[in-house]
Symmetry: C2
Subunit: 157 residues, 2 copies
Amino acid sequence: MPRRCGKGPRWFCGELRGCGRRLTEAREIVLGVVDKSDEHLSAEDVFRAVRRVNRGIGLTTVYRTLDLLVNMNLLSRCDFGDGRARYERIRGTKEDHHHHHLVCTECKKVVNYRDFIEEEIELLGKTEKALSRKFNFTIRDHLIQFYGLCDKCRQRD
Amino acid sequence: MPRRCGKGPRWFCGELRGCGRRLTEAREIVLGVVDKSDEHLSAEDVFRAVRRVNRGIGLTTVYRTLDLLVNMNLLSRCDFGDGRARYERIRGTKEDHHHHHLVCTECKKVVNYRDFIEEEIELLGKTEKALSRKFNFTIRDHLIQFYGLCDKCRQRD
DNA sequence: GGTTTTAATGAAAATGATTTTCAATAAGAA
DNA sequence: TTCTTATTGAAAATCATTTTCATTAAAACC
């Protein structure tokens, strides 16, 4: 199904080649779709958008490509507890990108926020240190998420 | 399959009756199993333990009963991101019970902790208030979780 | 105690997101 | 252009959980 190669972002092409991977149309389109969106897209969402560009690309390929992009740290996979993964483009440095999610449990709308990020990082640091020591854990990651009702969904009730 | 009734905890019997529900052996056993354990059990785990007491109880009933107990606020359902729900007995008041999880991504071991709970509650309160105002969300719940490697899994690598 | 109503049950089938299999295709090296 | 093998799509497989439906048994009512 692929056509020609080497169009998409140079760096992307380079990063792929670097690990013996190939640049294909499917990969360009999937990355493009998630990159253009500022929503938190499910695999299905991505699939639908990809199809609008090229009807020949299968859902399986979308899943595989999303996995690949997550492993390349170009996307992050989020879990909002509704049984389907969502994907979000990682922009800038890890520091820039650090944020949390506010999830509407009705319509699944998600807002990214960075409020109190300083205080939070400080508290997390303390907590991580204490937990590492107390329970002999090496902490690698953390998850903070708020759940509630967005404006529209609250009014609808 | 049930036998006689009215043995299990009075209050449990009472709470069930209160909403037109029935006290069955399956429900007693499921509650008993989760109550005795201080692990975070999956439905399968509960099923296996239940079977040791009564081979006639099906997996479907275990799922249904876990749902019921969660709705009755006797259990809480946790999601550690491995695609299966876990269940934990809620003890004492909501205040007493407030804690977070430290999850080993290798062996899935989970530790409950309450360290820095005061500071955390304070920060969460501030954050909740700010987010409510800023994004017009009514916040109902939050999730804080740390991921890492436990002692044993770190050494094994 | 026996009857009756209907909630609860178990087995099997259905669901839904994701993964695997496998033969066909095409990226990119030679 | 040829050749190697990564990538692909379609279909089947997985796996946790839910639904369906006919059967059974709590517990309310004689």
